[in-house]
Symmetry: C2
Subunit: 341 residues, 2 copies
């Protein structure tokens, strides 16, 4: 069997979907029109490169994330969740720029072809992609240690994208959703903490199937002065806003939002570690002038996303944590890959 | 040492370049303006996503290629050549669409941090990128088996991009440059063939430092009816044009262009194997109506790229090879990754 043919048949079987054939039975669907569920895709999978046609007056947000077997996931992670999460972590970056997700490029290295794995992976991948109405436009499949790289592109009106710089003293600091569920689930899987069995499923759902805050990111375009997504935890991620903006922050630990499952599993200072240093929440953290807070909270409620004020930007250039207005020392660090390297 | 800091310091040291500081000494270069050697980059490396501003009326060509240690390169490949080739193979795909290269996203998995390797890799990477006036806008560095994924984006006037489909019976088939050097160099390295020592450097240069035909691709926008880049060899790659266009082709083996080093190392049917099935040439193959051939050859000469007519498109839906107008049987296959999978 020709090996190159194998690569193409894998793409055709698992990653190249025919759109519109059902709506327009009997018409010939040419190779070039198969990927046009989005009309801004002129050439989809199957040529040397894809061609997309951006709307006039828009910027394109571009982000890339890699997930490596044994580093970002292991055999405890459901395979469809790997597909979901690869999409979610990239769309979370687009959300933090205020962009609308549009086009994805997927590159995979596989040690061998496992059709069951591919079926489950592509199911999770395309379910996430369909939910956010974005489309796979190309990629690469090669032999190698299991590694998945996704480049996601989104559309944002020029000059209205969000950045990490822009936070001003007096701005309120908000986070979306709840914090700490994913990190607590991971710690429980690793036996580092004990969690009531009835809450494990809810916590693991947040670890395995994170929700990128795509709608909220677009709502923030006219509101927030800075934004970032919480992939490594509030402790590390908010420092990017502070450095880029040349400001400091005061975080009120007792205002950090938590889920019911989290609250019934852990509390107080033990919980804060997971909430601010655990990572994998994929919530948005953003700053907003006090005058816009009421409007923002109303808009977010209408969009079905909870947002919580957890602190305030100041001119100190320091990041300080408080509990009921008393300063707290934090003795733990943000997550990073090359520990000890 | 904080691990996450490591990742950011690696990016800052090897992948994030400050532009314009030398031209404008004394001015403060903010984080957000560091990546603006191209003025169409509004936000470069260092935020959740990059923001690029495409020109009005243009399409964006997007392509992704992955290179895996032990699969696409080994210790015989100079490290700076790995950086060069990662850029070259992606720009070759953009060239085949007629696009002007613009923005690159790089994702790397490293088993550990080898500063010598990173120095050499980034030297080759940025030399290629600078030559083609494109810019790194983002990426990801993570721990894992050595794997490099590049997504390249190029700009092409809407409706003027090249595709694989469009070849018509009677069109002439052209290739750029010469064929077979890279494959012959690889076979010689592997001891499969003997090459005169005085020619090895010239052949290896083509294997290690391929030249994407970026200028030629843009010249072809108004000329070619179809185009593809030769990454897997003419035998396999032209079939993509034939299938996409619903046509057949006759290739004259004795017209295939070769370098002097190639001609003095191997000849005749033994050489054809490397020229049509060897791959890694990164030349363009394209089809063009006979009426435009004279004009095309003149334009290409002016641009300093040799183009050679090697055959003709016909209505047969078959790919046939000829030597001096006598039909030849070909008993070898195009390159592919999952051999035996």
């Amino acid at each position: 069997m020709n090996i190159r043919t194998d690569e193409f048949s894998l793409i055709a079987k698992y990653f190249q979907r025919s759109h519109g054939a059902g709506d327009d039975a009997g018409s010939a669907v040419s190779a070039s029109s198969q990927n046009r569920s989005r009309r801004d895709i002129a050439v989809g999978i199957g040529d040397d490169a894809a061609i997309v046609i951006p709307p006039t007056g828009c910027g394109i947000a571009v982000t890339t994330d890699t997930m490596v077997s044994g580093v970002h996931f292991d055999e405890k992670v459901p395979v469809d969740a790997i597909g979901h999460k690869l999409v979610a972590v990239n769309l979370s970056d687009l959300a933090a720029m205020g962009a609308e997700p549009a086009w994805l490029s997927l590159s995979c290295a596989f040690p061998s072809i496992d059709e069951n794995w591919l079926t489950a992976f592509s199911r999770g991948f395309f379910a996430a992609l369909d939910y956010y109405h974005c489309e796979l436009i190309g990629g690469d499949i090669t032999k190698g240690p299991l590694t998945l790289t996704l480049t996601a592109q989104g559309i944002v009106p020029a000059e209205r994208y969000l950045k990490r710089e822009g936070a001003q003293p007096g701005d309120r600091i908000y986070v979306s959703g709840t914090l700490g569920d994913a990190a607590l689930a991971l710690a429980a899987q690793q036996g580092k903490v004990s969690v009531p069995p009835e809450h494990m499923a809810a916590l693991e759902k947040r670890l395995f199937y994170p929700t990128p805050r795509v709608a909220l990111g677009q709502l923030l375009r006219n509101q927030a002065t800075s934004a970032i997504d919480l992939s490594d935890g509030l402790l590390g991620d908010i420092q990017h806003i502070l450095v880029a903006s040349g400001v400091g922050a005061r975080i009120q630990l007792d205002t950090l939002p938590f889920s019911q499952a989290f609250a019934e599993s852990i509390s107080g200072p033990d919980g804060w570690r997971y909430q601010i240093a655990g990572g994998d929440d994929y919530e948005l953290c953003f700053t907003i002038p006090e005058s816009r807070c009421g409007n923002l909270e109303t808009l977010a409620l209408q969009a079905g996303v909870k947002v919580t004020c957890v602190g305030i930007i100041d001119g100190s250039r320091e990041l300080r944590f408080f509990e009921k207005n008393q300063a707290c020392d934090i003795d733990f660090h943000a997550y990073s890959h090359f520990q000890g390297a």
